[in-house]
């Protein structure tokens, strides 16, 4: 396995999670993920020298800039509640879960969505999230607490019977 492949595999979940939090569409999220790693490949010489947090921060920042560029150039639609525009009929359980998660995330702003993805998909703590996003730890904690309430309200169907809220 090449150094770059190791780097890719170590960080692909993080970048994909952030891309999903921004686009809400799996195909578009993969496209953004690949574009981010293409930039990383072009700057790999400098990235290998950086510490792990700086690498993750670089990837998050690059993805954010790409999303902004995409909005400007392709009129990418921001994450909105799905409404009547439901995709494929009879989706499997995972697809249903994704739809519900996307719908729930639509109740949050961009920053909180990113925080939530880093917390629950990357299992990072508030300090690590703050370092990646350039936010104070207290701000991350506050936003997480607010987001938790929103998500709990919007995802009750996925809670096991009798789960605490």
């Amino acid at each position: 396995m090449s150094d770059f492949e190791s780097f890719y595999r170590d960080h692909v979940q993080l970048v994909y999670a952030l891309a999903l939090s921004r686009s809400g569409d799996a195909w578009q999220a993969e496209d953004l993920t690949q574009e981010t790693f293409l930039r990383a490949w072009q700057h790999f010489g400098a990235l290998v020298e950086a510490d792990p947090t700086a690498r993750r921060a670089w990837l998050a920042r690059t993805l954010r800039n790409l999303v902004i560029d995409t909005w400007r150039h392709r009129s990418l639609v921001s994450l909105e509640p799905l409404g009547d525009a439901e995709p494929a009929p009879a989706p499997d359980e995972r697809a249903e879960l994704r739809i519900d998660l996307t719908h729930a995330l639509a109740g949050l702003d961009d920053t909180s969505r990113e925080i939530v993805m880093l917390r629950y998909l990357e299992d990072l703590n508030s300090r690590e999230i703050g370092e990646i996003m350039g936010l104070p730890e207290g701000t991350v904690r506050r936003r997480l607490a607010e987001s938790r309430r929103v998500l709990a309200d919007r995802l009750p169907q996925w809670a096991p019977e009798g789960a605490a809220r």
Partner: protein, 74 residues
């Protein structure tokens, strides 16, 4: 209570958005193919640049030659 909810959300997010090993492999394969295409495009660009430069060079050389002939070194 917050911890329960945290664990539940973590589980739900991993179920919904987490990449399996197979998905990760697919991501890497598609990315590797794209890197190769980019490298080929870059190589094509470099070859085209070399060709353009080599087309320019004879003209530059002949004008240099002409100027040397009209102003021969002493």
């Amino acid at each position: 209570m917050t911890r329960d909810l945290d664990e539940l959300l973590s589980h739900t997010f991993h179920q919904g958005f987490g990449l399996s090993k197979r998905e990760e492999d697919g991501f890497w394969e598609r990315f590797a193919a794209r890197m190769e295409r980019e490298a080929q495009a870059w190589a094509f660009f470099v070859v085209a640049m070399v060709r353009t430069t080599s087309r320019v060079r004879p003209a530059v050389l002949s004008s240099t030659w002409a100027s040397q002939r009209s102003h021969p070194a002493v």
